[in-house]
Amino acid sequence: MTETTSTFAERSDEPEVLDRLTIRFAGDSGDGMQLAGNRFTDASALFGNDLATFPSFPAEIRAPAGTIAGVSSFQVQIADFDIHTAGDDPDVLVAMNPAAMMAHLKDLRPAGTIIVNTDAFDERNLKKAGYVTNPVEDGTLDGYKVITIPMERLTKDAVKGSGVTGRAVLRSKNLLALGLVAWLYNRPVEPTIEWLEGKFAKLPEVLEANRRAFMGGYNFGHNTEQIALTFNVEPAELPPGEYTNISGNIATAWGLIAAAQKAGLPLFYGSYPITPATDILHELARHKNFNVRTFQAEDEIAGIASAIGAAFGGSLGITGTSGPGLALKSEGLSLANMIELPLVVVDVQRGGPSTGLPTKVEQSDLLFAFYGRHGESPLPILAPSSPSDAFETAFEACRIALKYMTPVILLSDNTIANGSEPWLLPDLDALPDISQPFVTAPNGEDDKYLPYKRDPETFARSWAVPGTAGLEHRVGGLEKDSITGNVSYVPENHQAMTDVRAWKVANICHDIPEIEVDDPDGADLLILGWGSTKTTITAAVNRMRRTEGVIVAKAHIRHLNPFPKNLGSVLAQYDKVLVPEMNSGQLKHLLRAEFLRPIHGLSKVSSEPFKVREIEDKIRELLK
């Protein structure tokens, strides 16, 4: 008996309006939860909500079906105001199977809504998830608003006649779930239909199956007596302008492309696939018409080595990786430091050490970025603070690399890489020209080229690329004479070269913005963050100011090495400084060592981002 109709149900009642909503889709890795979450997100983005997302998935491509290890989830918060995070605890949980419920029910807020695919709650799946009795029936869900839906049966009914048959039918289950959620939260259906039409243009049967499943879920919402009231989140009043919804890895790739364009150089990206950095390689590989050359190297070492080779030849050389790969690139970074060529290394941090937690987040490579090389090998380090901020930060990393002839590390992380948010498109014409002309004529006496002769302001050496007659020269890992560039074992020369390499990096503090402190009320406590914690810190501070009248200041560091030149004086203005970070206190150590201030830390290395209330609790504790 099919209940589907051929059109989307008409709405009659006015929905209740919410200011914000956090929804989490959770199911088996093969259930298509990332797709459902992304479609919900895009529909909301086009509707005009502010939003932030947090995808989470296992490292295994196909973990055993039905197990907790195989659960994949996607959380999105949408709002009618300026929000910053994907939300602490979801208001709505979509549980596609018992394992998803077992893994995520603990996070659902009290009295929250749970949408349960009852077809998956059979004895076998319950056992796999560790349930002795069925939680849908044994009182486990008391206190929650429960919507039960036999998704598999309804999907089969809905898809009938589409041409898709057999096991493939149930692949549309996620669209059915999405349809129900779209009904319940008054999402426009057109963006999802249009997306399906584009995605499956060449597979008309699959398109039809998915369209019918989506409509089936939507109409189930209309028909079921379990839903008395639907909800809506109105568009947010974002600053006027044109927006797109962007993830951090895409923004990083675009920032690198923009930098290469504004530098007038080919972009060479040498990289070995590694989670969660691989999407940067994927994205760059799609844009060869920007004179982007991507090279999938045989290993991480060849990734950086090929980028160094390309930089020697006059390209903007870039490599991307995550923690274990950064370790392998360490020797190459030292070479780039010694031969002073521009290079950008993107490290999308994940849980470590070793293979660690490849699909989870940490900020635990900070000290490694600072000190993870042999010898005295300082280099600039930058960290984006959100998915969209990765565009500008990647651009800035390239600017510094080119201007100062130095390798630069860009410390992204998994939350930034895979999370997404609305991005107010920047004025691309206003991006600065960051080209650095190659040297074309000898710069020494007797028509000699002196490769290590430096610019008096930046301390950068000049860039002479092969093919330039008269400037033939040799660089290399051995210490070089500070003028001629010939191999030198002279002690005074090594001291001078070590000093100048350090000065060159330290001197960049005069070429970067001072750190701005948000302190409207003259606080005694400063919350100082770096990287992806910005969103959570901002949400916590804003909420406490608004609802509790708490007086607290906040600031965020993008340039980690060198630090902004006013950072020391800023720290000195506050009785207490709190640094929340997803490591065991690495920035805290650096700040204490550099500025001799008693910095407080809030540390989290659980592989999950901070929750807003965790930061709030610490602020309350410090203000006692």
Binding site: A45, I250, N289, F290, R293, G313, L425, G470
Partner: protein
């Protein structure tokens, strides 16, 4: 533009710091002479080396150069060559640099057919660290790190290169500068990866390793100069020859076989099996040993394909536009 270079144009003001009597000096001289007549402007030549005695080489050649890190020269050179196919890029490496720490990069450069000329100086010893066995040392070799004899089974570098289907594979000898120059020219003329093993004597830590090919009496008997299209005949009196039997290469006496059975060398054979069989004729530089080009076949180069893809995409899509790029995922206006 005619290029009228002399060897001196490729010398630098840096004095080589190899041990007196090192085979590297003759290779340096042969290479400088070769570069002088190669027909490429000096500024368009780049030498990339790794670490080891051989890898000091770029400091002594007046072109562009990089003395890089241990084993990584093929990877660095790949990045350079594919982004600057206008350059003539040479990798200078040794048996430790190329076959031990850098083995991975070597095989991948060769399988991709990157347009690199890879000169591997094989002295069968670690010289710069003062005498340990290398991946090409003979089994049982007694060194400071193997006082009871090395347990390692050695690589046959030619077999290795042929195994990854390198498009050009050759061997020459430091003490035969004319042959070295000729092989370097052949490597340059080849479009694609060229792997050249150069037997090089380390007179301090592994002296006379190649004596059977260099000794006044032995060399006449043992050097087999391979020539394309020529029967493979060798020996002081040209009394010996190579035959291929059941896919295996064997030595025999010319007098013992029908002339038609003598193997006629075919560098251009697309199947690397025969070249591989030839590479098994000698285990190390002992007894009769082929010198010259084992294989020289045409195959698409990585560099050309790499740049062509960029050009094709640009032709199809038009030059990239940032304004379009940032709107490619759909936008809305607030």
């Amino acid at each position: 533009m005619t290029l009228d270079y002399k060897r001196a144009d490729f010398q630098t003001d840096q004095e080589p710091r190899w041990c007196p009597g090192c085979g590297d000096y003759t290779i340096l001289s042969s290479a400088q002479k070769h570069f002088a007549q190669m027909g490429v402007a000096r500024e368009n030549i780049v030498l990339i080396s790794g670490i080891g005695c051989a890898s000091r080489f770029p400091y002594y050649v007046n072109t562009y150069g990089m003395h890089s890190i241990h084993g990584r020269a093929p990877a660095i050179a790949t990045g350079l060559s594919v982004s600057r196919p206008d350059l003539s890029v040479w990798v200078i490496t040794g048996d430790g640099d190329a076959m031990a720490i850098g083995g991975n990069h070597l095989i991948h450069a060769l399988r991709r057919n990157v347009n690199l000329k890879i000169l591997m100086f094989n002295n069968q010893i670690y010289g710069l660290t003062k005498g340990q066995y290398s991946p090409t040392s003979e089994p049982g070799k007694r060194t400071k790190s193997s006082p009871e004899g090395s347990l390692d089974f050695p690589f046959n570098p030619i077999s290795l290169a042929l195994g990854v289907e390198a498009s050009f594979v050759a061997r020459t000898l430091d003490s035969d500068p004319k042959h070295t120059e000729r092989i370097l020219q052949r490597a340059y003329d080849h479009n694609g990866s060229a792997f050249v093993e150069i037997y090089q004597n380390c007179n301090v830590f592994n002296d006379k390793a190649f004596i059977e090919l260099t000794g006044k009496t032995e060399r006449r008997a043992n050097r087999i100069y391979m020539e394309h299209g020529e029967p493979m005949i060798f020996g002081a009196e040209n009394e010996n020859c190579v035959v291929i039997e059941n896919g295996q290469a064997k030595f025999t006496r010319v007098a013992d076989v029908d002339q038609r059975e003598v193997y006629v060398h075919d560098e251009a054979n697309p199947d690397p099996s025969v070249a591989f069989a030839l590479s098994r004729l000698n285990k190390g530089p002992n007894g009769p040993t082929p010198l010259g080009v084992y294989r020289d076949v045409d195959r698409d180069t990585y560099d050309e394909s790499f740049i062509q893809q960029v050009a094709d995409v640009t032709e199809k899509k038009g030059p990239g536009d940032l304004q379009t790029l940032v709107r490619s995922l759909g936008t809305w206006t607030a």
